[in-house]
C-alpha cells in the first residue's frame, strides 16, 4: 500500500463487509485492485494513466524527463493502462521514449486511438502512432470522439481478426454524444467504451453503464478530475474525516475511489505531470472501496462544497 493510508484490520474488514463489492473485482497480493475486462476476463489495475496535455512537452528535455519520471512511478506502482491519441501532440513520442527507457513494453497495456475523419487514412495514422510508441502492436485501439467511426470500426475489426490488436473501443467526453454512443454500443461489438464520469458528472449511470454491463463492454473513465478543475475546487476544503474509512488519504483518492467503486467501471485514467500526484492517484487503487452508502455521502458532500 504505497500511498493508501493503512486502515485498521477491523475497519478494513468492516469496510469490506459493508461494501457491495462488484463480482469482477479482486485484490492482488500487495498489488492494487484489479477489474476484469468483460469480454475476456483479463484483469487490469483500476488506475491507469492519461496523457492529454500532460505529456505533450515537445522536445523539451526537462519536460520529457518529468513525463518519464511520472511513467516510472506509474509502472513501479503496478500500473498498466496508458492512454493516448494522435490528437495529443508529442505525447505519443514521449510515451514511446518512456517505455523504452523504463523497459516497460511488456507491462504496459497500450490504449491508443484513431482520430481522423477519413476512413482511408486510418491505417496509416495507426502505423505512425505505433512507431511513436515503438511497440509491436496495441492492446486497445479506440475511435477517438467517434470521428469517422463507421469506417474506423471496420478497420479495427479487421486488425483484431488478424491479431494486430487485442481490443476495440470508442471514446467520447461529450455529454451530447451519449445517444450516439448508446446506438453504437447496441449495434457494434466493441470491447471498451471510454467516457467521462466523476462525482459531479454522473449521467452515464442512468443508461450507459447498465448497457455496458448488459453488452459486456469495459468502461474506461476519462476526465475524472474534470481536467483538474474538480480537484482544484475540492482541495480548498478539508478532507472529510470519514474518508479514512475507505482508505482515502487525500481528495484525489476520494474522487477516484468513488469512480472505481462503480462495478461497471473497468478503470480510470487520470493524467498528471507530477510524481507526487501520480502516487496519490495510484493509492486510490488500494484498500477498500466505498459502498453505495458512502458513495452517496461523497456525492452530497462534494455537491454541498
Amino acid at each position: 500500500m504505497p500511498a493508501g493510508i493503512p486502515v485498521s484490520r477491523r475497519a478494513l474488514l468492516g469496510g469490506l463487509a459493508a461494501t457491495a463489492l462488484p463480482f469482477n473485482i479482486s485484490f492482488g497480493q500487495g498489488a492494487g485492485v484489479t477489474r476484469a475486462i468483460p469480454s475476456t476476463g483479463e484483469k487490469l489495475p483500476v488506475i491507469g494513466l492519461g496523457s492529454w496535455i500532460t505529456f505533450n512537452v515537445g522536445n523539451d528535455p526537462r519536460g520529457r524527463a518529468a513525463s518519464i519520471a511520472v511513467m516510472r512511478e506509474f509502472f513501479n506502482a503496478g500500473g498498466r493502462m496508458v492512454d493516448s491519441s494522435p490528437m495529443y501532440g508529442s505525447s505519443q513520442g514521449v510515451i514511446g521514449e518512456g517505455l523504452k527507457t523504463l523497459a516497460a513494453k511488456q507491462q504496459v497495456f497500450s490504449a491508443e486511438k484513431v482520430w481522423t475523419s477519413s476512413g482511408r487514412s486510418g491505417p496509416q495514422q495507426i502505423e505512425i502512432t505505433r512507431r511513436h510508441w515503438g511497440v509491436e502492436k496495441f492492446d486497445l485501439l479506440q475511435v477517438h470522439n467517434l470521428l469517422g467511426w463507421e469506417a474506423h470500426l471496420e478497420t479495427l475489426h479487421a486488425m483484431k481478426a488478424e491479431g494486430r490488436i487485442r481490443y476495440i473501443g470508442i471514446t467520447t467526453s461529450e455529454g451530447r454524444r451519449h445517444d450516439e454512443i448508446e446506438r453504437i454500443m447496441q449495434s457494434q461489438p466493441v470491447d471498451f467504451l471510454q467516457i467521462s464520469y466523476n462525482v459531479l458528472d454522473r449521467e452515464i449511470e442512468q443508461r450507459i453503464l447498465p448497457l455496458a454491463r448488459e453488452r459486456r463492454i469495459g468502461v474506461i473513465v476519462n476526465r475524472p478530475f474534470r481536467q483538474g478543475d474538480l480537484i482544484d475546487a475540492v482541495r480548498r476544503h478539508p478532507l472529510p474525516v470519514w474518508a479514512a474509512e475507505i482508505g482515502a488519504a487525500n481528495w484525489a483518492q476520494l474522487l477516484l475511489k468513488f469512480i472505481v467503486a462503480h462495478s461497471d467501471v473497468t478503470c480510470v485514467i487520470p493524467a498528471t505531470t507530477r510524481t507526487q500526484h501520480l502516487a496519490e492517484n495510484m493509492g486510490a487503487g488500494h484498500g477498500p472501496l466505498p459502498d453505495a452508502a458512502i458513495r452517496r455521502r461523497i456525492i452530497s458532500h462534494v455537491e454541498a462544497l
Binding site: 500532460t54 505533450n56 515537445g58 508529442s90 475523419s117
Partner: protein
C-alpha cells in the same frame, strides 16, 4: 463533419501554459545570439516606418517566424502549427509583393503616430513582457523570431502606410488566435494582441482627417 462541431475551444489547447511558455525559452536558447541581429533589423525597420521599404523587413520577419517558430518549434507541441506556418509564409510573401505597390501612401499623422508606437511596443516592450508578468525573462518574444512582436510591428507598419487591406487579414487573424490561446490558458495579458488588432482596425476604418496645411 458534424463530429467536429462538438469540440470546444479548450479541446484544442493541447499543452499546458508551462510547456507553451517554456517553448519560448528553448527557442531563445537555441537561437542565441541571433536575437541581436533581429533587434538591429527591427531598429532599421523602425527608422523607415511609413516607407514601403519597411514592408520588406516585415515580410522577412514573417517568413523567418513561419520557418523557425511555427514549423520548427511550435509544431513540436501543436499539430496545427504546420498550417499556421503556411499562413505566415504567405503573409511574408504578400508583404514583399505589396512593398512594390505604386499606390502605397503614408497615412495621416495620427495613424502614423499610432503605427510608430506599435512598432516601438513590439521591439521594446513585448520582449520584456514575461519579466513584467513574473515569468523568466528568457521567455521574451523577439521581433522576427517569434509571432507576437512580428505581428504587432506589422500592424504598426500597416497603420503608417495605407497598404492593401488584404495585408491586414492574417495579422488580425493571428491576434484572435493568440488571444484565444492565452485566454483558454487563463494567462494574463491575453488581451494584448486583440487590443492591438482592434486599435489598428478602428484607425483604419475611421475617416482620415484632412491635413491642416
Amino acid at each position: 463533419m458534424a463530429a467536429w462541431s462538438t469540440y470546444r475551444l479548450s479541446d484544442f489547447l493541447l499543452f499546458s501554459p508551462e510547456t507553451y511558455f517554456r517553448l519560448f525559452e528553448l527557442h531563445n536558447e537555441t537561437l542565441w545570439p541571433w536575437q541581436v541581429a533581429a533587434v538591429i533589423a527591427g531598429l532599421a525597420m523602425l527608422a523607415v516606418t511609413g516607407q514601403p521599404l519597411a514592408l520588406l523587413f516585415a515580410g522577412a520577419a514573417w517568413l523567418l517566424t513561419a520557418w523557425l517558430w511555427l514549423y520548427e518549434r511550435y509544431a513540436t507541441i501543436n499539430w496545427a502549427a504546420e498550417y499556421l506556418a503556411y499562413g505566415f509564409a504567405l503573409q511574408g510573401l504578400l508583404l514583399w509583393f505589396f512593398a512594390f505597390d505604386r499606390e502605397l501612401q503614408p497615412t495621416d499623422s495620427r495613424s502614423r503616430a499610432f503605427g510608430f508606437m506599435l512598432v516601438v511596443c513590439a521591439l521594446a516592450l513585448q520582449p520584456l513582457l514575461p519579466w513584467m508578468l513574473g515569468r523568466p525573462w528568457q521567455q521574451g518574444e523577439v521581433f522576427a523570431l517569434m509571432p507576437g512582436p512580428t505581428v504587432v510591428a506589422t500592424l504598426g507598419l500597416l497603420l503608417a502606410l495605407r497598404a492593401h487591406w488584404l495585408l491586414l487579414v492574417l495579422p488580425l487573424a493571428w491576434c484572435a488566435i493568440d488571444g484565444a490561446t492565452l485566454w483558454t490558458m487563463k494567462a494574463p495579458a491575453f488581451w494584448l494582441l486583440p487590443l492591438a488588432g482592434l486599435l489598428t482596425l478602428v484607425l483604419r476604418v475611421m475617416p482620415v482627417k484632412p491635413r491642416p496645411d
